[in-house]
Symmetry: C2
Subunit: 313 residues, 2 copies
């Protein structure tokens, strides 16, 4: 049997880089070859199984090179995210829709449909009105990013129904804790608060203490991607796009967990709620993820473990 | 004030041609100019307000010419439908996704967002499991056509949320009765039965007498498009994609109505159910269309009126 080919797009990113490391260290994928695609790579790889490819997914030659004839397992994480998609619609369409659809089309193989794990987002839900969210909630995205991810979720389900790919679209909640979170990102505070508390720096939170948000740690997120790769095709039903399990935490509960984790930190936390950020990140309603639960996906378990793992990587 | 420009794509089609006629006869649109776009036009127009454009929407020059700088009201009916999309995915992507997204993008006008009425379809729902369908039902399309229409519905809602267009996506049920229904179309029987009964020809129906299907007449469909054009923007909420009201009729009820309409017809109706056609067209569950109802859309009223109007045009 030919050596399996694994493609990771966005492989230099916060999640992608950790996922690539995890895959290469896993005995399950020991005999695979890997193509890691991103616009650039921070560090050269010394693993002989690895091909690092620097290029733009929306360039057809790069796309062809990345697939290299055939890919058996694809993690598609590259994309124009959140605020960037909102600010540059044309770029977001080119990458998130055009290039992504073309990627899915070029992966089509009716005999051996490749497993494709697509990074979607809870932004597909759009503004949450407070009503609980479950797998049957109708996504009503209003931002470019969430709408484009939802459009591709539909393509993943349709391509899978036709047997062209064996796809899964995983809606990611907030993933913590990005150390180098771009301060311009509206969600930056959710990441920086972890590192600031650890370092004993004071923190001003732009949300209220009773705000609620959905979180998992980056190790839990990477585990979910690896789990999605391993799931036997026959165990997955027609529903291929769903929300990953996440803990719904209160902001003050998170601060309390940080205090338990770092009892000697002198970090002072104050609250200066911003209505827009509160709406985006701290009004997340109750969440039920029955489809993902049944397939064996899970979150960090409890808030102390979330905090510990968020700072692990 | 500049003369309003109305663009109709698919203007030579079953619905498009009737819609164009209705618009041109309506006093509301008397002072407008019209661009009628289709691959070809059956008859030349003598109306001085009309520009007939023959061309492919997926050709950028055709698209630019069709919009002609600005369109104030757009009816987007052109597309690769049902079985054709299933058989030629590449063409369907090019027209239904690429060209349609580009059309929406080129219509963007934040100051005077044009009203865009997009012809969607109940095929967005995919295989119906028997549970009632309403506006909050999660569409789970499995066929290319339904999936692509659903993807554009999401774009219409997102573009409208950003104020770029003032869009509406209307999900069309079965529209009767196409006289020249392509016999290769799986839904052809739903159209030909009307004309065959009127002409006294015998009919073999590929569905069972207790099958149920959602129907409106083509005049009711055209009225819905015109109504969508007239709705004041302020009366429409964030939900821009929804199912049109339709009558849910039993197949034997339809045959009985045809018998009442044509009491002297000698047409003999027999049933030879085909499982696939039954699943596609005669297992449609109960339908509630609260969003459309609240906006004043309506179906033909009763089955006798449906039959009469289906044969009117």
């Amino acid at each position: 049997m030919a050596q399996r080919h694994i493609l990771v797009t966005g492989a230099n990113g916060f999640i992608g880089s950790r996922l690539a490391t995890q895959l290469m260290e896993s005995p399950d994928f020991a005999d695979c070859r890997f193509t890691l695609l991103d616009l650039a790579h921070a560090t050269p790889s010394t693993d002989p199984r690895v091909r690092q490819l620097a290029g733009d997914l929306s360039d057809p030659a790069t796309l062809d090179s990345a697939i290299g004839g055939r890919a058996d397992l694809v993690f598609h994480l590259a994309g124009i995210l959140g605020g960037a998609a909102e600010q540059d619609y044309a770029l977001a369409r080119r990458v998130n829709i055009d290039a992504t659809l073309t990627l899915l089309e070029r992966l089509r193989d009716a005999e051996n449909p490749p497993r494709v794990v697509f990074a979607s987002t809870i932004a597909v839900f759009g503004p949450c009105g407070g009503a609980p969210i479950d797998d049957d909630t109708l996504p009503l995205p209003t931002m470019t990013y969430g709408a484009q991810k939802r459009m591709i979720e539909i393509a993943v389900e349709q391509f899978s129904a036709r047997g062209w790919i064996d796809g899964l679209a995983l809606r990611l909640p907030g993933i913590v804790a990005r150390k180098d979170a771009d301060a311009r990102l509206k969600s930056a505070f959710l990441n920086t608060m972890f590192h600031a508390y650890e370092a004993g720096r004071d923190i001003v939170l732009p949300v209220s203490p009773d705000g609620t948000t959905w979180l998992i740690s980056v190790p839990a997120c990477v585990e979910a991607f690896v789990h999605a790769a391993r799931l036997p095709g026959g165990t997955i039903g027609a529903r291929r796009a769903f929300t990953l399990p996440a803990q719904r935490v209160r902001i003050d509960g998170l601060v309390a967990a940080l205090a338990r984790r770092f009892p000697t930190s002198h970090s002072q936390v104050t609250y200066q709620p911003d209505a827009a950020l509160e709406q985006l990140f701290a009004r997340q309603p109750q969440l039920t993820t029955a489809l993902a639960d049944a397939l064996g996906f899970c979150h960090d378990g409890d808030i102390d473990r979330l905090v510990a793992r968020a700072l692990q990587a």
